[in-house]
């Protein structure tokens, strides 16, 4: 079993024993099983999935990083949300806003920032059933 902790600046988002963790690292998706060699890697905006016994759980993450040491997986992220916490309307609005900003390419548009906002919104919307 793996001990998984997901920590955000304002709370301990999740802490528990899990079988497998699947996350999106900067170099690609990675699945972590018991006895994995120690690793540290930044993660991309995306979802994390893990198996608590037989039940699969998932959460939306913004950027952060993941580290594995002695069967302990720690995910540090600036924000994490369970699917039922996501405000889809807000995400939809954010997506629209970011797309418009990217399309208009007005002066002073922070393209990188708009792209990140778009990615976050798409990630959140991907949880909609």
């Amino acid at each position: 079993m793996l001990q998984l902790d997901i920590v955000t600046p304002d709370r301990k988002f999740y802490s528990g024993e899990v079988k497998m963790v699947v996350a999106r690292g900067v170099e690609g998706d990675l699945a972590i099983l018991e006895n994995r060699a120690p690793i540290t890697t930044p993660i991309k905006i995306g979802k994390v999935r893990f198996f608590e016994g037989e039940t699969e759980k998932s959460a939306a993450l913004t950027d952060g990083y993941l580290s594995v040491l002695d069967n302990k997986v720690t995910i540090i992220t600036s924000a994490a949300e369970w699917p039922d916490e996501i405000d889809f309307e807000r995400a939809e609005a954010a997506k629209k806003r970011a797309e418009e900003r990217l399309k208009s390419k007005a002066d002073g548009t922070d393209v990188a920032r708009a792209e990140l906002a778009l990615k976050r919104a798409i990630n959140r919307l991907s949880f909609r059933a």
Partner: protein, 286 residues
């Protein structure tokens, strides 16, 4: 008797209404303090995990280099001063402002200042180089505020416009003790981080590379340090305000007690005088 009865009773009323305000403020800050302490506790795991991870990396990779870790000659220092927007918090604001002023005077280089809170902005804006000012966040700092401040500091540091960043905040030691502190956040003090690390380091894999991970981690460390300081400062602010208001309420009670005594004395004197006038009047009629 100096004052008339009416004057004294007006004075008592005035103080009593002030006391009501200070008492209300005391209760408001004690509620806010409780919340601030919860936030403070909730933010600790994040900070500690980031710190641990950096320690792991610096401990397991020898001779690692990173621009944000490099010491250079200090010609210009950025001070981030954390004070509050509102006063009535005892010596909270003036203590941190004074400490900053002392630091500035003691250093030889020039200074740049980022102020958080109106009270430090007002204090520094005239004679010092305040490059940025944040209002309305001192009581309830968000992580995004810390990210914003950290970005400004790191950009200036990377551009070479500043060689050092210090954050001035008030540490919350206990209800009655809040200590103004200086914390150097840039360049990151490698020795301070690695010293605490004990035991043999494990062979850690890094993706894409140790430097790449460090590139990501060091800014997070700085952000979370600033966030921690912001929260600590807001907790101290509430603590200081609660104590200040508590003693103001106590003082008001004391003054009211004294005034009531003089009021009663004056009233009694007036009654005595009236009775003796009546008695002597009646006496004269006999």
């Amino acid at each position: 008797m100096g004052k008339s009865i009416r004057e004294i009773s007006r004075h008592i009323r005035g103080i009593r209404s002030t006391m009501q305000i200070t008492r209300a403020m005391e209760m408001v800050s004690s509620a806010k303090l409780r919340k601030a302490r919860e936030v403070l506790d909730a933010s600790k795991p994040y900070y500690e995990t980031v710190l641990n991870n950096i320690q792991d990396i610096l401990g397991s990779v020898k001779g690692i280099k990173h621009p944000l870790l490099e010491e250079r000659e200090v010609k210009s220092t950025l001070y981030i001063v954390l004070a509050s927007d509102r006063g009535l918090a005892g010596g909270y604001n003036s203590n941190i402002n004074k400490l900053t002023l002392k630091e500035i005077e003691e250093s030889n280089g020039e200074e740049k200042i980022i102020t958080v809170g109106l009270k430090s902005y007002e204090f520094f804006r005239k004679k010092h180089n305040v490059i940025e000012n944040f209002l309305g966040i001192s009581e309830k700092p968000e992580f995004s505020d810390a990210v914003h401040i950290a970005k400004i500091a790191m950009d200036l540091f990377n551009k070479g416009e500043i060689d050092e960043v210090k954050i001035m905040y008030t540490e919350f030691e206990s209800m009655i003790k809040q200590t103004p502190k200086t914390l150097k956040i840039l360049p990151v003090d490698k020795s301070a981080i690695t010293e605490e690390k004990t035991g043999p380091s494990v062979l850690m894999e890094f993706e894409p590379s140790a430097e790449g991970v460090l590139d990501f981690l060091v800014p997070r460390y700085i952000e979370s340090t600033i966030y921690g300081a912001l929260i600590e400062a807001s907790t101290s602010e509430q603590g200081a305000r609660q104590v200040a208001m508590e003693s103001a309420t106590d003082n008001a009670e004391e003054i009211i007690g004294e005034l009531e005594l003089t009021y009663n004395r004056a009233r009694q004197e007036a009654i005595t005088m009236e009775i003796s006038e009546i008695v002597s009047g009646a006496e004269a009629l006999k």
